[in-house]
Amino acid sequence: MSASATAQALPTEVQSTDVMISMTDVHKWYGQFHVLKNINLSVHKGERIVVCGPSGSGKSTMIRCVNRLEEHQRGKIAVDGIELTRDLKNIELVRREVGMVFQHFNLFPHLTVLENLTLAPVWVRKLPKKEAEDAAMHYLDRVRIPEQASKYPGQLSGGQQQRVAIARSLCMNPKVMLFDEPTSALDPEMIKEVLDVMIELARSGMTMICVTHEMGFARTVANRVLFMDRGEIIEQNEPEAFFNNPQSERTKLFLSQILHH
């Protein structure tokens, strides 16, 4: 798939035993439609999970439940020990700790790149402006576009915008990063620059859940690959085992479709 497949794979064993995200018996319905069925997942500190599965299988819905962009109706979700309930305080606490990167970037078009990055640190974390700006420049450096700080998002390419979006999340110093198909709205030549930033982030020890169909990325970065279909987690395994020796028929079918075309 992408060039990142050639990068040195990260070790798959998990160091920490601290549970960062735990989902137990999570269900969700849209009206009568049962989108998430009995999701059980626990993600340890520093663990990197890649979620794949056919369109409409509930991948986005699942990770959006982790920062409560979607509400689950049964079961329990806790992030870093904080349980997600109707309590708005808890929800905002969790969202501070969980960064999210979207398929369509969702940058704020009326603010410059720098303002996009400093907004939440200043208004949510109450950092002094100067400090927030220094941190922002540090993260812009890390995603390799410090020279774009004063531009507006509309003046950047898709790959640059997505890197700004990643930097924007990082500025909040999150404990977990969620990625929902971060490269699928990008032109092929821009995918690598975004994946490289994500690999670099993985190296730094960030806890990550990525919904992606970039299988090269999954092989390089993931500790675990999850396969979802029709709202269920069908199978999960270390990347080598997952790709080379899938267990269920649905996984085999999905992998054959995605790997051979």
């Binding site: 606490l93 960064g99 704020f108 507006y152 003046q155």
Partner: protein
Amino acid sequence: MMDTSNVPTGPRENPELEEISPPMTVVGPVAWLRANLFSSPFNTLLTILAVLFLAWVVPPFIRWAFIDATWTFPQEVIEGVRGPNRGDCTASGACWIFIQARIGQFLFGFYPADERWRVVLVFILTFGAVTGMLIERIPFKKQNAIFLFLILPILSFWLLLGGLGLEVVSTRLWGGFMLTLVIACVGIVLALPLGILLALGRRSDLPVVHLLSVMLIEFVRGVPLITVLFMANVMLPLFLPPGTTIDPLLRILVGFTVFTAAYLAEVVRGGLQAIGRGQYEGAASLGLGYWSMMRLIILPQALRISIPAIVNTINGAFMDTTLVAVVGLYDFLNIVRTGSRDANWIGTEIDGFVFCAAIYWICCYGMSRYSISLERKLDTGHKKR
């Protein structure tokens, strides 16, 4: 070098081609005329009709308003022998001495002549502070905003109404252009935040907030302003404990503000609807609460989109201030009309109307020009997600 000009396909590799400037477009007035006014038979016909219309309307108007108009008082009036009247306008054109004779009343209503400096002072302070806010190059925006929105309202209230050492001037004496500006400014300045709150309320998930906003907006939009003004005039006192009186001008201000707010709410709601779900999710995922999200992310974008419609509504509201005449207030238009009913000035209706129209036009045109420049300034260009 090989001549490749006949080769129709294939990528061009000649680097010199990159240097070509865009094709020359037509230049000069004749070419411009041909391209813009006479490009087709239909366009030509429209141009001719428009020119004929202008030739029919403009010269007579100019003759009436300027050339044949009476601009100066006769000698006896200047010497103070007698007061002026319509008969002093002997020329066939406009009678501008009517405006000159009555200008104090047109601007200040029945505000005592010795106290009018207070109104002028309020006007100058407001104008200065607003200009300071609107023009980007002028510094001290923060201090200016504090002055404009906190100090100035209190100061103006005191200066206009009096008390604490100043002679008290009842609002019943207020009138003319001053009254129009007071109603328009107070009404619009209060209606804008109220309208934004109503728009947010209408989109709220909280059923009570939603229902109240919808009911207020739909009720107010369902009845004419005149009705709202009558109701505010008659009904507001009923809600207050018996024995207390409420200033007639205040009643009108309440009615006018609520009416304008309801229309602004719908305009702002339109802008809010244009903001995609991604903006809310992006903001929420960073931990922003509802009010920060609205204030920092959603409203700046929604209001920017709505500027033309907001200015349109404000312009309309400015004109609608003339309707306060129905509850007996002498706003600018009403006092000019009343003036031309004076026995000395019979036959000056048209002059009065043209004068009013010119003043209203200057105000509204100024507003719309500013809104256009504001839109340009806020345009961060390019497609948004």
